[in-house]
């Protein structure tokens, strides 16, 4: 087995070749990224959308879209790379990230609200 492997382009090269993009991929990714970066900056700097909530939601959507673009066109993520283990690791990480972010913000927001000065804990039921 090992003799055969050494005759081919080495392991690093094979593994890397398995998931590298073309010039077209990089240019598409770059073009999309420029748009997805310019739009949120323009929205916030010009105040085009009335209302902060609407703007915040819009820039979040642009950020998520751009992260997906980077993953696909720059990091060449797909369900096949490394036999599917890359995407498994990423899905697991995403679940942890969501738990950390949502959990922290949710719990600490309520703690904060209850710790505000002027809050009389003796009045709590």
């Amino acid at each position: 087995m090992s003799e055969i492997v050494h005759d081919k382009p080495s392991a690093g090269q094979r593994a890397a070749n398995a998931g590298h993009g073309s010039l077209r991929d990089y240019l598409t990714g770059f073009f999309l990224s420029v748009i997805l970066t310019a739009m949120p900056f323009w929205l916030v700097m010009s105040g085009a959308l009335n209302g902060k909530i609407a703007t915040a939601l819009a820039i979040t959507v642009f950020a998520v879209a751009q992260i997906v673009v980077h993953m696909v066109y720059f990091l060449h993520m797909n369900t096949r790379s490394e036999g599917g283990w890359s995407i498994m690791a990423m899905v697991f990480t995403l679940i942890l990230v969501v738990i950390v972010l949502v959990g922290s913000l949710w719990i600490i927001y309520h703690l904060n609200a209850n710790m505000m000065p002027g809050m009389d804990m003796s009045q709590m039921p």
């Binding site: 593994a15 070749n17 990714g29 979040t60 720059f74 972010l101 922290s104």
Partner: protein
């Protein structure tokens, strides 16, 4: 081929329950997956820092607020520096796979220059803020801000050191398989940092202006 434990030739039909040898792994064959898993763990570090910023980002302690501190045009320039460095690193990888040493070195230099511009602009911004009294110890918001953005900047700095190291390696040894693998790892690292920056400019800078 993998050797299978057999109980000697005479009893070749004996049941076999396990392999006595690990099957061959080519050197470096699992490096890219391992590096990807490192990046995922790094992602968790940043998730914790984003969570801290999300919790503390509104605690100004009567100090300066994002609107007083952040200059969006500068952040936009910074963002474009990092985005340009991402695409030029992509070009470096394309020339790497074509085996063109000179072109690879050229694109790596361009990438490093964009990266240095990014770090330079960020340090300029930090210096400006600290000069105005917006130091990390001023408020919880500023502590969280400097920790999150500083950690990202530190990663970019380490990436730059790594890039220079690889330029020297490629200069000495050329695009041998080991160097191609190392360049592919740095490629993932560099693009990953750009992904983190998307979160930073969206939620810290643009989000800060909306607070």
């Amino acid at each position: 081929m993998t050797t299978i434990a057999t109980g000697g030739n005479a009893r070749a039909e004996a049941p076999v329950f396990y392999r006595t040898e690990e099957h061959a792994h080519a050197a470096g064959g699992s490096t890219l997956l391992g590096f990807w898993i490192y990046l995922m763990s790094d992602c968790l570090v940043f998730a914790a820092l984003f969570a801290a910023y999300g919790v503390l980002g509104g605690s100004y302690a009567a100090g300066p607020q994002p609107k007083d501190l952040f200059e969006l045009p500068l952040v936009a320039v910074n963002t474009s520096m990092l985005l340009l460095s991402s695409i030029t690193y992509g070009f470096a990888m394309l020339t790497t796979y074509q085996g063109r040493v000179g072109a690879t070195q050229g694109w790596l230099i361009v990438t490093a220059l964009f990266g240095m511009a990014f770090v330079g602009i960020e340090l300029h911004e930090f210096a400006h803020m600290i000069h105005d009294g917006a130091t990390p110890q001023r408020s919880a918001f500023l502590s969280a801000f400097f920790t999150l953005v500083g950690t990202h900047g530190l990663h970019v700095t380490v990436g730059l050191i790594w890039m220079v190291t690889l330029m020297l390696q490629v200069g000495r040894r050329g695009l041998i398989a080991d160097n191609v693998r190392r360049l592919a790892c740095l490629s993932m690292f560099w693009h990953f940092l750009d992904v983190i920056w998307i979160g930073v400019f969206t939620f810290v800078y643009l989000g800060g202006m909306l607070r």
